[in-house]
């Protein structure tokens, strides 16, 4: 069974936000919306400063609070672990928005809950466009896939692992920062 995942290399991400506007344009969301965002996190390790950019979106969690908490079943699992929204069943009650630990959802202009859908499981616009080629998309269950290979060979982290959601967006950590 396929399981879609996104892998983002923190070593290469320049925080340029092309993912944010690529998403906006590809999904025709209008000029003030995107399903992606970039968070900038600076930290200090001894005398050294560290800076990472996290290109963020719906994590398509394996145990998704939005799916569990949706009263109408509008939020559901589609093929390959995609967390999807059946727009016609969504009442806009925002239970999913309250449940999501990642603030990945918003109410669309049309009144339904909306979020990243991994561009339906085709190569997402953000991944295809990333100027620094920091983003990968593929099937975690296919050992030959780039995402599976990268997660096997590089250290990675997921956002808020303590929430037990088992996200499917992984961040490859910077080896330079670990060595420092």
């Amino acid at each position: 069974m396929a399981r879609y995942a996104m892998v983002i290399d923190l070593e290469l991400c320049l925080g340029c936000a092309a993912c944010v506007t690529a998403c906006q344009v590809k999904n025709e969301l209008g000029p003030r919306r995107s399903r992606a965002r970039v968070a900038e996190v600076a930290s200090r390790k001894g005398a050294r400063l560290h800076l990472n950019f996290y290109s963020e979106r719906c994590n398509h969690c394996a145990d998704a609070p939005c799916v569990r908490n949706c009263p109408t079943g509008a939020s559901h699992y589609a093929e390959a672990g995609l967390v999807s929204i059946n727009r016609s069943r969504c009442t806009g009650c925002q239970a999913c928005i309250a449940a999501c630990p990642y603030s990945a959802r918003y109410i669309s202009a049309e009144g339904y809950a909306d979020k990243c859908d991994f561009c339906g499981g085709r190569e997402p616009a953000c991944v295809a466009n990333c100027p620094s080629s920091a983003m990968y998309f593929g099937d975690l269950d296919s050992p030959a896939s780039e995402v599976a290979r990268l997660l096997k060979t590089r250290k990675s982290r997921v956002p808020r692992p303590e929430s037990g959601t088992r996200p499917h967006v992984f961040y490859l950590t910077s080896r330079k920062q670990e060595r420092a």
Partner: protein, 715 residues
């Protein structure tokens, strides 16, 4: 940059307006138009998706060597630029006082007649030289042609003296060829990349960002010299938080180490360069210990980074940067960078600099233009002997001083001199001397407020422009073509120039019936039809860059790389760069430095609904300790006041350890005041308002802007 952990602003007037437009009609099919981008100056290849007469999609053209299938964040903002509700929609003729922003809408014929009459009056009374042009972007070639045919030598782009001019002069003097745009650097294959104040990734030049990431993924070592811990610094192996104004000292120390330890590329220097002996003598005292004290960085870091460069040579690329107008000795700093590259043998080598290639596309055959016998008013060719283009700042200076002769009219296109040229008070005084000011632009920026006539240009998605004949590592010709018809009563720059030209008796230089006719004629000489070009969008031609041969002849007077510059010596300048101390901020002051965001271009995108949606304002970066001493907290509103009492802001403070305590930083282009720019107006602070002083580079007239000191006051 603002990267809050929220998605874009949701709700608000703009979003509501967009939502109303979402009831889509059944589609009549889509088509793809191949063109090139104008969201910055890089000119990436774009695939525009057109549906029902509107542009609904943009993507990077995979066949274009500058985009390679990808666009930057701003590139996608092209759709929002097209749909910006604040666009200039019709010609305007001033009614109130200058700056009052009271205009009467006018027909094109009325506005053009009015403009032509005013320009002709200046020509009759004072000669064509009394008209100056300050122009930028792909609008510039049209207006440049008009002004040239009109007979004035006073045509300038703020892309030169204010930006990359000093750098190009430094490289031209050393290697006989400027760095060019796009830069002829081979970043992707560099094994060591040195960036001095060059914040790659933040100054988002698509191809360079791609190449930078490619170099990183191949394990390139990165050395970043910057008073601010930039995005690039976060990818670095050496970070040298340099005291601003001391770069030349560091560069000389690096040169000293390579020579003293015999780590330079001896074979390369023996073969290609002259002046090694003089260079050796000149840098004998420039020890790393000395430079460490001057530049306030660790001596060990200077030495170990020099060793890393030497180990990677010739694929050790000391990047020349782009915006080089810093302290007024910027040509000499660029010379020092060029000399360092020469010692590393990186010029003409993979992973260093590769001479660009480009195809030959003939010009449209036109009668010769009679050049003006008068010098330009900006001092190039007289005072600034090594300038290769005119100085936009100099046009303002010359207009204000009326020396060597009065300038009474300006044509401004695609540029906002009240932001792009320092000392706005001087610019205001210059404007007050004008009989006529014409502005061609897409949005009503500050300069338009002072115009007598405002002519609305359409966006790049609605127009033809001249061919982009690319000089790069791979030669190419790219076409700008309209995806849709111009919206409102806006017109393409080529049409505006032609119509004015015809009214000014210059029809002989504007014979084309339309721009396809012009482009078709040029392309004929290239062996391609306009229809084929429209279909292909970009054509690779002219070959690929290669390493230089053993008998390579540099285009310098000596035919060699000039470590020692006789040209400079003869003109009375230092033939080898020397460090001169610059004033440092006094107690309670910070040096103001500024730079770029990947979401904005100059001052031209702050009103873009998509890009303003992500980054609506700039922030004042201030060191944590310095902020604490002043009671400034993250997000505090602060006002900046410079040494002359000029102020900017308020803007939000970004309290961070990522900047030295002796300087503050902001992204350029914010703090708009024009009433017609609803999303940009009053957002953030304008660095331009604080750059009341600038240091002119004596060699080519560059405009050094990092010479102002500010106080930061909590409001």
């Amino acid at each position: 940059m603002m990267y809050r952990r929220t998605f874009l602003e949701i709700g608000g007037a703009a979003a509501a307006a967009a939502a109303v437009g979402c009831g889509r009609k059944p589609s009549t099919g889509t088509r793809t138009v191949k063109t090139y981008c104008e969201m910055c100056f890089w000119k990436c290849g774009v695939l525009a998706t057109v549906r029902d007469g509107d542009v609904v999609g943009l993507a990077g053209n995979p066949d274009h060597p500058l985009s390679r299938g990808r666009l930057c964040a701003r590139g996608f903002g092209g759709i929002a630029a097209l749909h910006d509700p604040d666009r200039l929609k019709t010609p305007l003729i001033r009614q109130g006082a200058r700056g009052e922003e009271r205009f009467q809408t006018a027909s094109w014929s009325a506005a053009l007649d009015h403009s032509a009459e005013a320009l002709d009056r200046v020509r009759r009374e004072r000669g064509p030289e009394a008209v100056a042009g300050i122009i930028h972007g792909q609008t510039a070639p049209h207006l440049h042609h008009l002004l040239h045919a009109f007979g004035t030598p006073n045509i300038a782009e703020p892309a030169y003296a204010e930006c990359r001019g000093p750098r190009d002069a430094g490289f031209q003097l050393t290697f006989g060829i400027p760095v060019g745009s796009p830069e002829c650097t081979d970043i992707a294959n560099a094994r060591v990349l040195v960036l001095l104040g060059y914040h790659l990734g933040e100054n988002m030049h698509n191809t360079q960002a791609q190449d930078f990431a490619a170099a990183l993924s191949k394990g390139a070592k990165v050395i970043v010299v910057d008073p601010r811990f930039s995005t690039a610094a976060s990818k670095s192996d050496w970070y040298l938080p340099i005291r601003p104004g001391t770069d030349i000292a560091l560069l000389l120390a690096w040169i000293h180490i390579l020579l003293a330890e015999n780590l330079y590329d001896r074979e390369y220097v023996d073969r290609y360069a002259i002046g090694l002996k003089e260079l050796r003598e000149s840098v004998a005292e420039a020890t790393p210990q000395w430079a460490a004290g001057v530049a306030d960085v660790f001596e060990d870091d200077i030495i170990s980074s020099a060793h890393a460069m030497a180990a990677a040579k010739p694929a050790a690329l000391v990047h020349p940067g782009r915006h080089a107008g810093w302290y007024g000795d910027d040509v000499q700093r660029s010379r020092a960078i060029a000399i360092l590259n020469a010692l590393l043998g990186s010029w003409g080598r993979n992973g260093g600099f590769l001479p660009p290639v480009s195809p030959t596309v003939p010009k449209y055959p036109l009668p010769p233009i009679r050049e003006s016998s008068k010098p330009s008013v900006d001092g190039t060719g007289t005072t600034y002997r090594f300038a290769t283009m005119k100085r936009a700042t100099g046009m303002v200076e010359g207009t204000e001083s009326a020396k060597p002769y009065p300038v009474k009219a300006w044509i401004v296109g695609g540029s906002n001199p009240l932001q792009s040229i320092p000392n706005t008070a001087q610019t205001h005084r210059a404007i007050n001397r004008l009989d006529f000011l014409m502005v061609v632009d897409i949005l009503p920026a500050e300069i338009a407020s002072y115009a007598d006539v405002v002519l609305p240009e359409c966006t790049y998605l609605e127009r033809y422009d001249d061919l982009h004949v690319g000089a790069f590592r791979e030669g190419f010709v790219a076409l700008r073509q309209p995806a849709i018809e111009p919206m409102y009563d806006s017109k393409p720059g080529w049409w505006i120039a032609r119509e004015l030209g015809r009214r000014l008796g210059l029809s002989a230089w504007f014979p084309w019936a339309n721009y396809e006719d012009y482009l078709g004629k040029r392309l004929e000489g290239f062996g391609v039809t306009i229809d084929e070009m429209k279909q292909r969008g970009v054509i690779l031609a002219g070959g690929k860059s290669a390493e230089i041969p053993l008998d390579y002849n540099f285009e310098t007077p000596s035919g060699k790389i000039e470590l020692y510059s006789k040209q400079l010596a003869d003109a009375g300048f230092d033939p080898i760069p020397r460090y001169t101390a610059h004033p440092q901020p006094g107690p309670g002051q910070f040096r103001l430095v500024f730079g770029r965001s990947p979401l904005h271009t100059f001052g031209r995108t702050q009103n873009n609904p998509a890009l303003a949606g992500i980054q609506p304002e700039n922030e004042v970066w201030i060191n944590s300790r310095a902020a604490a001493e002043r009671g400034i907290e993250p997000g505090s509103r602060v006002l900046l006041v410079n040494q002359d009492g000029a102020s900017a802001g308020p803007a939000r403070a970004r309290v961070t350890e990522r900047i030295r305590p002796d300087c503050v930083y902001m992204v350029h282009g914010f703090g708009h005041s024009a009433r017609g720019m609803r999303f940009a107006r009053g957002k953030g602070a304008s660095d331009s308002d604080l750059v009341t002083r600038y240091a002119v580079d004596p060699i080519m007239g560059g405009t050094g802007k990092f010479v102002n000191f500010v106080r930061v006051e909590k409001v």
